[in-house]
Amino acid sequence: MTEQEILAGLGEIVEEIAGVPADEVTPNKSFVDDLDIDSLSMVEIAVAAQDKFGVEIPDDQLKDLTTVQDVVNYVAKNAQNSE
């Protein structure tokens, strides 16, 4: 999985759950401040990301993932570890 593939997949998830167009989900955006996504939607995104990428993002990790790039990095790193 390349970072581009993860970013595209994450964009689809955010669009489906929060109604934010996927093309607005760019790496340096903050979920809370730029995309107006709240903590409960973040949980839904984490659950959907687990279904899509096979990477679990526990709540205690989730709180530290503030930007789109943070989530991409987390998924890339942990997908690698599980391979």
């Binding site: 903590s39 409960l40 973040m42 949980v43 839904e44 984490a46 659950v47 709540d59």
Partner: protein, 324 residues
């Protein structure tokens, strides 16, 4: 050898009638915003609540249970003496002794029934309904009054905005009785369980403390672990999800309700959203929603509805019922 049961065993049980009660004190989001740092917009978007009811200072779990139970009893066409068992599901009673159910039975003129309180938190009504159906089938009771009654505000810190915007007070009740020979059961097999490994996610630390919950963890659990339970309940009842006239989950948070419904594939118009004007009333939320939906004529008599209770413990229970 004496008989093992007091009544003839029944082929199945059904809900005969319903009753709901909300206290008179309407509390709006703006009312709450005057005491904690929150807003109408914030509350609506996070939990989907517009208003809720708070019990009066002297109004108890038993008081509310009496009103809801009395309505259900009146709607059943039965006399108080016909009730053999009273179960009050509650997790917010003022004190553990005496139990609410015996007091409620006495005040409704039900003479010397079996009476016990049941605490499975927000899953309590579904647990109690399953016990009632089992009692009727086994012949240990002929008619059972099942009530969920909660004064959550007694255990909520009015200055904790993570809980005070969600929880509220109220009661809902159902009269359960046997089906006639040859009739299908009106209360389907229960699918229940618990996840004690997560029990610390919701609690009241001691008698001098208020309730707390870890919102994100509870949200994740409810939106990932509950829809498979609901599907199992439908399978055991032999009812397709697409045939349900209504999905009535515990009114925990509108976001949770909608997320579970989406995963189940139940269209939004068939999903109970009583929380909007009732708040989260724990074990009362399902019977309160059912009573209101039947009063409004939203539910077709004889159609299948899916109930799903879940909450602290973490306890859960689901069953398909036939709308009375």
């Amino acid at each position: 050898m004496t008989p093992l049961h007091s009544f003839p065993p029944a082929p199945g049980a059904r809900i005969i009638s319903l009753g709901g009660y909300q206290p008179g004190n309407v509390v709006t989001n703006d009312d709450l915003a005057a005491q904690v740092d929150t807003s109408d917009e914030w509350i609506r978007s996070r939990v989907g609540i517009i208003s809720r009811r708070f019990a009066g200072p002297d109004e108890s779990v038993a008081d509310m249970a009496v009103v809801a139970g009395g309505k259900a009893l009146a709607g059943s066409g039965l006399a108080p003496a016909d009730i053999d068992l009273v179960i009050v599901a509650s997790c917010s009673a003022e004190a553990p002794i005496p139990n609410a159910s015996a007091i409620v039975a006495h005040r409704l003129g039900i003479g010397a029934p079996g009476a016990y309180d049941l605490n499975a938190a927000c899953a309590g009504f579904c647990y109690a309904l399953a016990n009632a159906a089992d009692a009727v089938r086994a012949g240990t009771a002929r008619h059972v009054l099942v009530i969920g009654s909660e004064k959550m505000t007694a255990w909520i810190d009015p200055h904790d905005r993570s809980t005070c915007i969600i929880f509220a007070d109220g009661a809902g009740a159902a009269v359960v009785g046997p089906v006639a020979d040859g009739e299908p059961a009106g209360i389907g097999p229960v699918v229940w369980g618990s996840a004690g490994d997560l029990a610390a996610k919701i609690g009241i630390p001691d008698r001098h403390s208020y309730m707390y919950q870890e919102g994100q963890a509870v949200f994740r659990w409810a939106t990932t672990a509950m829809h498979p339970i609901a599907i199992q309940a439908c399978e055991r009842a032999g009812v397709a999800v697409s045939d349900l006239s209504a999905f009535v989950p515990h009114q925990a948070n509108l976001r949770i309700v909608e997320a579970i419904a989406r995963r189940l594939g139940v269209p939004r118009e068939r999903v109970a959203d009583d929380i909007v004007h009732a708040g989260n009333t724990s074990s009362a939320s399902i019977p309160l929603a059912l009573a209101r939906m039947t009063e409004r004529g939203d539910l077709k008599s004889g159609s299948p509805a899916l109930l799903l209770g879940f909450g602290a413990g973490m306890c859960y229970a689901a069953q398909v019922i036939t709308v009375p």
